[in-house]
Amino acid sequence: MRYGGDNRGRLLIIVLIVTSLFLITLDLRGVSVIDGLRNGTQTALTPVQKAGSWALTPFRNFASDVTHLGRTRNQIEKLKSENEKLRNTLQNRKIADAQLKQLKSVLNLAGSGGYEVINAKVISQGPSTSFTQTITIDAGTSSGIQSNMTVISGYGLVGVVKFAYTNSALVQLASDPGFRIGARIAQSQQIGILSGQGSRSGVLQLLDNTTSVKVGDALLARGSDNGRPFVPGVPIGEVTSVDNSPGAVTQTAEVKFYANFSTLGVVAVVKRNPASDPRDSLVPAKPRPTPLPTVTIYASPSPSPIPEP
């Protein structure tokens, strides 16, 4: 027998739906109790997330390792047969090395730009079930982090601090569909607005339709007042394709972010604006092709022997 429902059941559903609509209204009107609830939850969850991060470190990239298994199957099989114990030790060492490399790289970028930064470790990635791109870092207001601060990695812009809690902070990645940043093209200084698209590529919309952009152009952050939310000069990405469709109001281009958001381990939050705008000094150098050595061989015919009479 199918369920027909009764008045009590219908009343319950109506009460629940009205409650949820009431909550949405309260939140959109900025009632602080709702923010406090989220803040309190995050503060309570941070130690558990840190413990989870520690426990799952060896397995974190398991899925990506599996996808590469086919290509390097022979090599992996050979390594497995050599020494399993040594492999585990090496794996732990690799994780530490990778984090150290990322830390060095981000400090190098921050030093070159004159940014005062706070380093932080990524402890969690936001679920994609909500169609957002976020990460949680293990430093918060107790370390001096506040909302609307720029977050960078060794390659460039990562995102912006959306919410800062006591011992953690939520970072909105530049790939998030809701992310917008004022960008300028290095050298030509054309300006535009870059928006995230949910993947590693973003879309740049130039403000002036008389200017042009070309593939390979590097993009930098324009910067905001007092460096919040964005400090100037942070490398963002490189133009990979340009939409030159006739009749378009403004020119648009697809941009590939320098930062690889799926491998973030250590990031830095820019605490203070640099004394002077670093301008184009942080644009990453383009890879130079390695010259191939050429060898010229001169061959001269040897004199043919004179036949003896």
Partner: protein
């Protein structure tokens, strides 16, 4: 009596929520991964009456809304999950052909997860949230369906066991 039993399920959902936030989100799975809380909630609702399904959706929605990574306003996931919980419970209620067949429950849960996310997305659009590229959204929805279809059969027995102990043994699969 039913409400008292519903209250017993709150700590269970809290544990699932902590598992989701502290461990599942750490695993960088391809295709966007999955939400254990969403899967658990919909399986739980499938095994319940429509009223309990809606109440379960309400509780789980509140938990998903207080998650720091939730993009929408408080109540966004709550509204979606009340409707989803009620709907999946309504589909299965009184029909033993659906409830006693694990394949049907997995199918209902997988479809429920995808439709919930779609409704969440559409509601977000109405509330002024950015959508991003359509291809990426479709990719995530497909990934979510894939992972739900993988994970649901694995947790179905556990959810069924816990549900049977909370609400009585009739729902045990």
């Amino acid at each position: 009596m039913t409400i008292r039993r519903y209250l017993f399920s709150i700590p269970i959902f809290l544990v699932i929520y902590i598992l989701q936030e502290a461990f599942i989100t750490q695993l960088r799975l391809p295709l966007g991964g999955f939400s254990l809380l969403l899967i658990f909630t919909l399986i739980w609702a499938t095994l319940s009456t429509p009223e309990i399904g809606a109440l379960t959706g309400f509780g789980a929605g509140i938990l998903m809304d207080i998650s720091q990574s939730s993009p929408g306003p408080m109540g966004h996931w709550t509204l979606v999950l009340i409707l989803a919980g009620y709907a999946v419970a309504f589909l299965g209620y009184g029909d033993d052909n659906i409830r006693s067949n694990p394949i049907n429950i997995v199918l209902i849960t997988t479809a429920g997860v995808v439709v919930s996310q779609l409704v969440f997305l559409l509601l977000g659009l109405l509330l002024g949230q950015a959508l991003g590229s359509i291809s990426h959204v479709l990719f995530l929805l497909a990934g979510s369906a894939f992972w739900t279809a993988i994970v649901s059969p694995l947790v179905l027995k556990i959810v069924s066991f816990i549900h049977a102990n909370v609400f009585g043994t009739r729902s045990l699969i």
